[in-house]
């Protein structure tokens, strides 16, 4: 069992991988991962984008991915989330190899264990903001009122005016959408989190709130992988950095 980790209220024991996680085992562990894209409709061009990527993140640790734009930070993050299919290597998250898992195993992992705050908010049109934020908790089968209260608390913390909560976020400003996205990402206490530029386009006060949320997540034992262009933020919350340029094919090695 994991140190410093609160009892995980898993509703789906059949999928719960925590029992397999030994003491001191990393929450996220990538070993020799490669990724390439084959463009079948453009002369079957094969574009290798990542090679020999290895990364280990312990519970309570935050690791920053660095490297120039296009170096593959988001690609690596998407490989961990199971959004991109790794060509080879293992991608263990909470003991499950995302590179080889069945869709339903990945869905369960995303529901219970692995959160992802992307840069863009994607929602069903017409759904009120409060529901959008409560969604991860409702999907876990939590009590509706508890989920909505938690969502309200986060929205208030992130300075989304209460009069907007009953509206769909599709018409919100970029910064507001970003904060709704963050609120949703932090609604459930995921043991592992991926954060893609969580402080981009935020003012000082909201940036401070987001950094506190990240610190709180670390304190409860979440393993975090983040992309931060904001150097100050990175230095404050991240324990170390990994430069993904090392994984660009034909550059290092």
């Amino acid at each position: 069992m994991i140190r410093n980790m609160p009892i995980h209220s898993c509703l789906c024991p059949a999928f719960c991988r925590f029992e397999y996680l030994e003491k001191d085992e990393a929450m996220i562990e990538l070993t020799d991962v490669s990724k390439s894209f084959t463009l079948h409709n453009q002369g079957s061009a094969v574009i290798p984008v990542m090679e020999g990527a290895s990364l280990k993140v312990d519970p309570g640790e935050c690791v920053a991915l660095t490297g120039a734009s296009g170096a593959g930070k988001s690609t690596l993050m998407r490989v961990i989330y199971g959004n991109y299919l790794a060509a080879s290597g293992t991608v263990l998250v909470g003991g499950l190899d995302v590179a080889k898992a069945q869709p339903r195993e990945i869905l369960a992992l995303r529901r219970e264990t692995l959160g992802y705050v992307s840069q863009f908010l994607r929602v069903v049109p017409r759904v009120p903001t409060l529901e959008v934020v409560a969604e991860p908790l409702l999907a876990l089968g939590r009590d509706r009122q508890v989920a909505l209260d938690k969502a309200a608390g986060l929205l208030a913390r992130l300075n989304i005016p209460e009069r907007l909560w009953s509206l769909s976020p599709t018409t919100f400003s970029g910064g507001e959408q970003q904060r709704v996205n963050i609120a949703r990402g932090f609604a459930h206490a995921y043991p592992a989190m991926l954060l893609d530029e969580p402080t981009a386009s935020l003012d000082a006060q909201n940036r401070e709130t987001v950094l506190s949320l990240i610190e709180e997540a670390k304190a409860r034992g979440a393993a975090i992988v983040g992309i931060f262009h904001d150097v100050e933020a990175r230095e404050r919350v991240c324990d170390r950095s990994v430069n993904v340029s090392e994984f660009t094919p034909g550059q290092a090695a």
Partner: protein, 256 residues
């Protein structure tokens, strides 16, 4: 966990022409699977084979029934299959008029399915019908109107209410948002998503609209010329398609 539906090597030909072939997958309780592909790719043929509307030439469609556990629905008797399609299964047609009785009132359309499973108390049936009209956002005042007096979007919502009133566990949907205005589509998607979660439904949705599957389906199956060319998590298939045809499909969508 036992899959709710196990599909094994389903094949259906129309003479020498292949409808669909070599289709196998498992669907678990609570899962929503999308089937995409262009017209003529065999997705509707497959859906009709699964739902018992067409008899496949080969293969098994094993459903985990409440009473007897997993049973092959292809070889089960017609009355048994009909009972299943009234209780545990539901089928939402693209054209609401194919799934509704147009000469019967809205309440009657919902009540009919309840009566088919043995409900007899008029008051209960009417109450349930009104409750379901509310859930699909149709005013109680319209309960005695015929669906012919409804708009296309309302007819589609009525069809959904009629299908879900008996608490099915598996819903087949054939282009459920096809032919509707985008604003009506969004409303329907929101409704379907809510119902799928509240009722813990499993669903198989055939559509050619990638935006619809992205929002509704957990998993995706891509078909071309009767064959399954790619399967996987919905966002993985759409964001990192592996097969040439899926890449073409994804890259052909107009950006809004």
């Amino acid at each position: 966990m036992t899959p709710l539906l196990q599909v094994k090597d389903i094949e259906k030909s129309y003479g020498a022409r292949i409808g669909c072939t070599d289709v196998s997958f498992d669907l678990y309780p609570g899962e929503v699977m999308g089937i995409v592909g262009e017209s003529g790719s065999g997705k509707s043929t497959l859906l009709n084979c699964l739902a018992g509307h067409l008899e496949p030439d080969a293969g098994q469609v094993i459903f985990d029934t409440r009473a007897d556990g997993p049973v092959d629905t292809v070889t089960m008797s017609e009355p048994e299959r009909r009972m299943l399609s009234r209780t545990d299964w539901a089928f939402v047609h693209q054209h609401a008029r194919d799934g509704l009785r147009m000469s019967v009132s809205a309440g009657g359309n919902i009540g009919e399915r309840l009566m088919a499973v043995g409900d007899r108390h008029y008051g209960d049936i009417r109450d349930k019908a009104i409750d379901w009209l509310g859930r699909v956002e149709i005013s109680e005042a319209r309960v005695d109107d015929r669906p012919t007096a409804f708009s296309g979007g309302m007819q589609q919502r009525l069809q959904i209410a009629r299908n879900l009133v008996t608490g099915p566990r598996l819903v087949f949907m054939d282009e459920p948002t096809g032919g509707l205005d985008v604003s009506v589509q969004a409303r329907l998607l929101d409704l379907l998503r809510g119902l799928v979660r509240e009722m813990g439904l499993s669903a198989i949705i055939v559509t050619h609209d990638l935006a619809v599957v992205r929002l509704l389906a957990d998993r995706l199956m891509v078909m071309k010329d009767g064959h399954v060319v790619e399967t996987g998590l919905t966002d993985q298939v759409l964001d990192d398609p592996q097969h040439a045809y899926t890449q073409l499909l994804v890259s052909s969508v107009l950006q809004v």
